[in-house]
Amino acid sequence: MTEPSARTENDQAAQLPPGATAESVSEEHLLEINNIEVIYNHVILVLKGVSLTVPKGGITALLGGNGAGKTTTLKAVSNLLHSERGLVTKGTILYRGQPIADLNPSELVKQGVVQVMEGRHCFEHLTVEENLLTGAYTRRDGKAAVNRDLEMVYDYFPRLRDRRKSQAGYTSGGEQQMCAIGRALMSSPETILLDEPSMGLAPQLVEEIFEIVKKLNEQESVSFLLAEQNTNVALRYAHYGYILESGRVVMDGSAADLRENPDVKEFYLGVAEEGQKSFRNVRSYRRRKRWLS
């Protein structure tokens, strides 16, 4: 029963003044992934040794292109891999120092880790409010607390309040993304694994969503592990970033460092430093990258 103590820590962190985010990221590692390998269908090796840590109270970004293994990493943590015939074959995943590989998703949600899946995945035929309430499925702390959190979610996402009685399937993409994040919040999580919140959304909406993520991080002290292709936005809001390429971490560093890194600039932010790059330089980048495994 580590739940209550975690709560009080959260409350203390919530009292920090806004703007103190970077400092409020503690040294304490909430989530530690050590050198995991993931195989789908017993044959397809997707993660070839990924290690990363998520500090308490931070926003950690997992960057990389299509098929780099971002989603798989998140699903390995939330244990949703089993239902897709994926398997963690090597390495360990620790949450608050405890191995979580044998927990099912439901137990994990009770521990405070919840995933918002890529592509929203709202319950289409349920209303927005029912969607949110489903998020509180694992909670046992009574109706009053759930309703309080429902109001909190509506305060963060005022649009959801307006659409509370509409079927989620008929709301816009942005509203569905908000609904999915709100639903995760309803489980009163400590860590949210957020998969591609920007997917298919207009730039302005992406900013809006990330602003809310930042606010949730600061005010509710929810830690985030965020998989994102939109490197630019992600590095502006995250504290720390890992870059994945074909199943390996090739680079990591604080978001500020990564933003300034010439390779990241060129390959992920699309800003070339001087003129046209030739293929020789691309190769040099490949040579330079660091294998963490």
Partner: protein
């Protein structure tokens, strides 16, 4: 009113009530299909098994008595008691819950994420296994189910309606079976309670969530295994109700499991995913086949009730494959 008109009304009323009986079976299919995408071929056998268990428990029959006697050379058949219907029904309910848990443990758990056709095959296997198991447990002879539901025509209704026809006409009042009337009331109560359950309880909401998106349901911490046990329990409960009604109507015997076949056209009409669809589909088929038999039947030699429902279902498959009330696929524009 002319006797002819009154007679048509009687046919419609009887059709509606026969339809309710079909709906009772179709409901069980819809529940499981909605929550897990499995077409449960064993639903009919579940109704038979539930009815057999009910009769066996009520009459104090020793389960597996033939087997026990054959192995140990004993000669026991009865415990020598007769339980009141309500107690027997409650015990049967417990048996159906156990059954649901076993199905999840022994079958579904091992087949998660398999193709729907594999799960369908598994339920076919389950159906044949249960058929044999039921016979082994309670014996295969035809049993009479009596839980105190009155049957036979309603005299009250006949006396009420006998005066409706014009003086001097050859009309003896409406004949509607009391059992059918009770089945209707039970079905209405069942649908209302199922709807309330799925709309207004936390578990009901979780059931609908699972029906919408398995993965997302998992991600918010809903345990699919628990939900499946709940769904199969409810389906078992519905099977028990259907088994009791059909068993009281036509005796508990093997052919009871074939009512599942009659539920198929109901499902195609109403849509596999809609509880109201199962009810209305049943009513349409019930009324349709009785009216067809009554009006067109004599012209083509009768016995149309055997095939009318299937032909209607075929027509529907061509023009509206998702059924009348099947889940609309939500597309945003």
């Amino acid at each position: 009113m002319s006797p002819q008109f009154l007679f048509t009304i009687e046919v419609i009323a009887n059709g509606l009530m026969a339809g309710v009986m079909y709906s009772l079976v179709a409901l069980g299919f819809v529940l499981i299909f909605k929550a897990s995408g499995i077409f449960n071929y064993a639903q009919g056998v579940m109704a038979l098994f539930a009815a057999m268990t009910l009769v066996g428990i009520q009459n104090g029959q020793v389960p597996f008595s033939h087997l026990i006697n054959a192995v140990f050379g004993t000669n026991i058949h009865h415990f020598g008691w007769n339980l009141p219907a309500i107690v027997a029904i409650l015990i049967t309910l417990v048996v159906m819950v156990l059954f649901a848990i076993l199905v999840e443990r022994l079958i579904l758990k091992h087949l998660v994420n398999q193709e729907p056709i594999i799960l369908f095959m598994a339920t076919i296997g389950l159906a044949y296994f249960m058929e044999g198991f039921g016979d082994l447990m309670w014996g295969s002879e035809i049993k009479i189910l009596d839980v105190g539901i009155p049957s036979g025509g309603s005299l009250w209704l006949e006396e009420k309606t006998i005066g409706w026809a014009a003086e001097g006409s050859n009309y003896y009042g409406m004949y509607i079976d009391k059992l059918d009337m009770i089945a209707t009331v039970v079905a209405i109560l069942l649908v209302i309670s199922l709807t309330l359950f799925s709309q207004y309880t936390k578990t009901g909401r979780a059931l609908r969530a699972v029906a919408d998106d398995h993965q997302a349901a998992l991600s918010v911490g809903i345990s699919l295994r628990k939900i499946w046990v709940i769904v199969w329990t409810i389906a078992g409960f519905v099977a028990l109700v259907a088994g009791v009604m059909w068993g009281a109507k036509s005796g508990v015997q093997f052919s009871l499991s074939l009512i599942a076949l009659k539920a198929l056209p109901v499902l195609i009409l109403g849509g596999f995913t809609s509880i109201p669809g199962a009810i209305i589909g049943g009513l349409i088929i019930g009324v349709g086949e009785k009216l067809f038999e009554f009006t067109i039947g004599p012209l083509i030699g009768g016995a149309t009730e055997n095939w009318f429902a299937y032909v209607l279902a075929l027509v529907f498959l061509v023009f509206r494959p998702q059924g009348l009330f099947g889940d609309k696929i939500i597309e945003r524009v």
